[in-house]
Amino acid sequence: MKTPRELLLERHRMAQSKLDAIRREALASMEKVVPERSSISLRDVLRSLRWHLVGMSAIWLFVLVLHLNTNPGPQMMATIPPAKMPPPQVIMVSVRENRRRLAEMMDARPSANEHHEPFLLKPRSEWRGETLRA
């Protein structure tokens, strides 16, 4: 007396040697596939990132160039050698001279005691008189 399982397996036991050969073949193909897959995966990752990295590098270069072009001040200041810089007194004198010339051109009379009346609120009737006088 046999169970269906025993009966079925026994009927096909003669295929065992062929199945052993198939198993060995499958294992051999696995040895080829598995290490290949692990090395390919790293390469694939790098390959998939290659255009991304190139694009990002180009953008960063562009940003750097743009930054250098639009903000030259500190660099230019840095290029003037300290020996050629005039002393602060000379700079102040030239600034005052420039201011005086500007005032002359605008027909103004700069004075040290230049006084401005503080703005005070007045009734509307006084505003009218001032306007007419003017």
Binding site: M1, R5, L9
Partner: protein, 183 residues
Amino acid sequence: MLGVAEIEKLPVLQARAGDGAAWDALFRRYQLPLYVYIFELVRDEQTSLDIVQETFINAVRHLGSLREDGKFGSWLFGIAHQKCIQRWRKQAREEMVRDEFVGAPAQFEIAPDDLLIREEQEAEFMNLVQQLPPPQRSVLLLHFVEDFSLEEIAGITDVSIGTVKSRLHYAKKSLRKLLEGNS
């Protein structure tokens, strides 16, 4: 080889790590039951051996898709089953059998090891298995060869549990008729 009812400790975890010895143990464990299942479905030795090989190669490639290590067996049979279906479709030999879920039992009526076949019944048993329509034959073989649960058989054959119950019910009814007639 271990009996189907025994709890097995299969080296699936080691196989996931690419351990060749683990794969060898797994293939050794399943090669004959897998072959029996495939042969009884396709009835051709060379085709059966080809499908076993394709199943092994697919298993190595797609082990990552196996969610539970404990279901390695049913997962492997599922791959083999799909290969058989592909062959049938290719050869246009698939029998379209529409069985319905009518009055199917909730559980298996008899455990695979409870059914004993006398020597004089062996040939008739095999004939009966071969005469069953492929869907019924498939569930009966999965039940007998590996004692898979209804859920596992449903997963392997890609049908509902109700359909599995129905197919198994009709297959066993035919089998019982044969065994009673001979006793």
